[in-house]
Structure formats: structure tokens, C-alpha cells
């Protein structure tokens, strides 16, 4: 399973990159599994997650080709 991962704002700075491609051998992968693969730290409570540009949570099961974005609280307007 291939997942495209994107990071924004302070999280992009912390991860040192804006995006990356992540592959899994197993068929069942959640957002939490993905976070564990890209970071050695536990996922901060304040971090928001979107799959294919819709807000969701860390229990969301991913599909091949999904785009997953992690980012801090939004501050527009």
C-alpha cells in the first residue's frame, strides 16, 4: 500500500520536509500506524489529520493511494 504524506506549517519545520511517500506491506493500516512509521514521537493531541482533504482521526483506515496530511491547529482569517 502506497500513501502520500504531507506536513504543513510548524510540523513541516519539525519533520524537515513537506511531503514523503510511505509504503506498507500489510493490507490494514490506520492513520495512527502511519504516524508511528514517520515519527518516533507519539502524535501530539493538537495535531489535526486529513485524509484526501477531509478531516478525520487517527483510527481512520487508509486505502492504497490515499493522501494523508498532518498539521497544527489552523490560524487563518
Amino acid at each position: 500500500m502506497d500513501i502520500k504524506v504531507r506536513y504543513f506549517a510548524s510540523l513541516r519545520d519539525r519533520m524537515g520536509k513537506g511531503d514523503e511517500a510511505v509504503s506498507f506491506d500489510q493490507d490494514t493500516v490506520t492513520v495512527a500506524d502511519l504516524w508511528s512509521k514517520v515519527s518516533s514521537e507519539s502524535m501530539p493531541d493538537s495535531i489535526l489529520v486529513a485524509v484526501n482533504m477531509e478531516y478525520t482521526d487517527s483510527s481512520h483506515e487508509l486505502k492504497n493511494g490515499d493522501e494523508v496530511a498532518f498539521f497544527p491547529p489552523v490560524t487563518g482569517g
Binding site: A9, M53, Y55, G76, G77
Partner: protein, 158 residues
């Protein structure tokens, strides 16, 4: 409904006039309610000299379009215009425009407030401020607005 993100300087009052002259039928609306957000030269007790606004292309537009449609469905609104600036800007620059055309003012005010509150609450934008001493930092949260938490309560059906 029109939503767009721009890196260019924003003249919100020209955008309102241009949209009204091209998209609204003449003589049918009773008013336009607008909110224009501008950049302050202070935040959280610090003097701010510049700002860089980041966003998530695609998701940002998609979520603003959705909330404009919710407002059009919820209130008696004829049309909506949202323009949000991104990239580098300085104090006094307009950041965001929300404009709502309606036959009657109550629907216009309610819909405009709903859209700007949603935007601040949920649309993926992030402000990175530069202070007058040259320090750069990401803004961690928007200032508290009780209207945001209560936005569902604004809806007529709620």
C-alpha cells in the same frame, strides 16, 4: 458563489464591486454584508512587522466552498464571495474578504458571520509572524471567539 486564494495584494472593496457588477442581477439584492480581516502590527503582546501565510492548496478552497454552500442553504442568501490572501504581507494589508448578498439584512449578517467563523475555525491556513526584532514564529492558535464554538447555534434549524 466564488472562492479564491491569491498571493497578490487584495483590494476587498474592488472585489465586492466587481463581483456585484458581474454576478448579481441588478436591483434584486437589498444589501451586501462584508467582513474584511486586516493584518495587525501586534499579536499576543508582541510587535509584528510581517507575516507569511501558508495553506493547503485544494483542501482550503474545498472547505470554504462547502461552508459557503451551507450558508446559502441555511439562510436566504443570493450569493457569496470569499477571497483569502496567502504568502508574504505586512501590517494593514487585507487578509480576507467575506461578502454576502441577500434581500434582507438579517440573513446577510448571519451568513457572513457563519462563514468567517468557520474559516477561522477550520479552513487550513497557518500564520507565520515576524516580530520587529526579526524573530519568526508560527501562530499556535487564533484568538478566542465565542462565535466559533457556538457557530452551529447560529443556524436557524439548531
Amino acid at each position: 458563489m466564488k472562492v479564491f486564494i491569491t498571493k497578490d495584494a487584495l483590494d476587498p472593496y474592488k472585489e465586492i464591486l466587481d463581483f456585484e457588477n458581474t454576478a448579481l442581477p441588478a436591483g434584486k439584492h437589498g444589501g451586501v454584508v462584508s467582513f474584511v480581516g486586516t493584518m495587525r502590527d501586534f499579536n499576543d503582546g508582541q510587535d509584528v512587522s510581517a507575516m507569511d501565510l501558508d495553506y493547503y492548496p485544494g483542501m482550503t478552497e474545498h472547505h470554504i466552498e462547502r461552508v459557503c454552500q451551507e450558508a446559502i442553504d441555511e439562510w436566504d442568501v443570493m450569493d457569496t464571495l470569499v477571497v483569502h490572501r496567502v504568502g508574504k504581507m505586512v501590517p494593514t494589508d487585507p487578509i480576507v474578504l467575506v461578502a454576502v448578498w441577500s434581500a434582507h439584512r438579517k440573513d446577510g449578517f448571519d451568513a457572513c458571520r457563519y462563514i468567517i467563523n468557520y474559516l477561522k475555525d477550520s479552513a487550513p491556513f497557518w500564520k507565520c509572524e515576524v516580530t520587529t526584532s526579526g524573530e519568526k514564529h508560527w501562530v499556535e492558535h487564533n484568538s478566542e471567539d465565542p462565535g466559533v464554538a457556538a457557530r452551529k447555534g447560529l443556524k436557524k434549524s439548531a
